[in-house]
Subunit: 348 residues, 2 copies
């Protein structure tokens, strides 16, 4: 009947002990005798008691909450990364607070403010970027920041990145080895750091090899944009025969337009490479050669770093760990979307 939930006081009364004993019962390493613990546990189960982590967090300055800040979360790559992070966070005994952002201005700020208001132990940005001043406020208050595939660095935050430029370079190598003559670059117009890096690597390698290429860059990172990019690139007179797409979603769109609207055979007349290794890239309809991000490992390392930072909170003001960065290498996944040819031993 009472609208309020059962508290430690109720358990204490039922078990005939002090409220402090109940607290110690659920605090690892606290001093409590086995028999009273047994009594308390029994009473707690009977009442359905769960320690109130709000009150606990209030006094311990550690809520066990980790904010995951993300946009476009229904996208294959994003949802995969989100799942991995949630799993890792839970494995570490914490819980994920999910905050969705959009493209609008100040959306990331708004999200971070939400995280602060719940006194989150950490915030992990999968997209967007908080203003520098607000980020510093977070750090000063003891909140950890992790930035995944973000560009500008915030001192004290962990940067989780991939060697995107290297992937762009390898894409050129693979396409050339497949015998492609006219290369193209298909990318969205969002201008994210990681996407820009993929473009840069592609251009560098093409320039270094002394070959010409064409580009199309517009729209968001979606299947629809992929279709439009494919239409723009493949209806040209000097149609390319090897395209590197900044994203698997784009590549799927390009491939579908080629096959189903323009009647171009893949990979006989057109070789395609994507990036992300989303589930659909492995489906029979696509068989897309792409670069795989070690999503699980990225998530695990991020959370690991958070725990490590929490462990050595002994007086250092974070200045010593000003620059933390983990760099992963995207792994080439060869499938049927690239024409058969000699693939150079680019391994290392």
């Amino acid at each position: 009947m009472s609208r309020t939930a059962v508290s430690a006081k109720d358990v204490a009364e039922l078990a005939g002990v002090s409220r402090a004993a109940v607290s110690r019962c659920f605090t690892p390493g606290a001093s409590i005798s086995p028999e009273t613990r047994a009594r308390i546990v029994k009473a707690a189960e009977q009442l359905g008691y769960q320690v109130n982590r709000l009150a606990s967090g209030l006094i311990r300055n550690e809520t066990g909450l980790v904010a995951l800040i993300v946009s476009d979360m229904a996208t294959p790559y994003r949802s995969h990364l989100l799942a991995a992070l949630t799993e890792a966070v839970q494995q570490a005994g914490k819980v994920a607070l999910l905050i969705k952002t959009d493209r609008s201005d100040g959306s990331a700020e708004q999200a971070l403010r939400q995280a602060i208001s719940y006194r989150t132990d950490a915030a992990i940005f999968l997209s967007g970027m908080p203003a520098r001043s607000l980020a510093e406020t977070c750090m000063r208050n003891g909140m950890r920041l992790v930035l995944i595939n973000r560009d500008e660095d915030r001192p004290g935050a962990l940067q989780v990145r991939l060697h995107d430029a290297e992937a762009g370079r390898r894409a050129v190598a693979v396409l050339r080895a497949a015998g492609c003559r006219r290369l193209a670059l298909a990318s969205s117009g969002v201008g994210t750091h990681s996407i820009s890096e993929r473009e840069r690597g592609f251009r560098e390698a093409a320039t270094a090899a002394g070959i010409d290429w064409i580009e199309e860059r517009f729209g968001s990172t979606s299947y629809q944009t992929g279709q439009d990019l494919g239409m723009a690139l493949l209806s040209r007179r000097d149609r390319p025969d090897g395209v590197f797409c900044a994203t698997d979603l784009l590549a799927c769109g390009v491939m579908d337009v080629a096959r189903w609207r323009l009647g171009i055979r893949v990979p006989d007349e057109l070789s395609l490479i994507g990036y992300d290794n989303i589930a659909q890239a492995g489906w029979d309809s696509y068989g897309l050669t792409t670069f795989s991000q070690p999503v699980d490992e990225m998530a695990a390392k991020s959370v690991e770093w958070l725990s490590a930072m929490a462990a050595n909170d002994d007086g250092d003001d974070g200045a010593g760990t000003a620059r933390a960065e983990i760099l992963f290498m995207p792994r080439l996944v060869l499938r049927g979307s690239v024409a058969q040819g000699f693939v150079p031993g680019v391994g290392r």
Copy 2:
């Protein structure tokens, strides 16, 4: 330097007012003069103050947290639903607590316990199911429960369901109208309520029409299972020419096996119908006829119900609202995966 975050006391000191004034400043409808509010807002911005919702929730018995409990969240349909719910929750001024479950026993219980420990205002189950006793404990403590596409009902919880059986029936009608002679049902072996209902509708309609059909049911609800189902169904001597798949993911697997491994033309030799209307169903490679769930509307109505329940918390003990259910009708989306034919006016 101080590890602890800025509190209302700090703001009050800077603004030269009492701490209570700061609290009132951020409480809508509280009595406070415009000039002191201005002073407080200025001081708060200067210090980067955000109201501590943990402490606020502690005293108001309303944390603003809504737990989303889900498994297989990287799946297209699930991630779509998850995104819609997160969006709806945020629109209502609340924040989503994301809890991932797996197939293991007691996983749902564990998740619900997590939700309780954070004194979540509500818990929304997208998969899994808590034990009845634990669910009742939640309700008694004032936590609202929403079950999406779940079978057993928990008194007091909101049931959000679709008319799955009707979809199964319509699938038979559409396949027959397309001229299919040998129907088949492809489903996973998970035995979820909603999936069982789709199967039931299919069988009922086929039986009523007096036609025979074949079935395959095994595995999880994945693309891979779809491939295996397709292989099992389509390599038979009496190969079916019209298949209703309990899920789009399954349908994609079936279609790919048909096209790319068995050389069966879709829709000329094989008509396919799925369920969920995931993004890939609309891609050129699939063009899958399917049933669309009004995901956004489902999310909006769920959160709306939560707010309504919170509003009339005036002494009623929930017994009056024992049975709440919202039933949605899946919408048929016609695409190219079904052979051209006369589609009966099943509207209504």
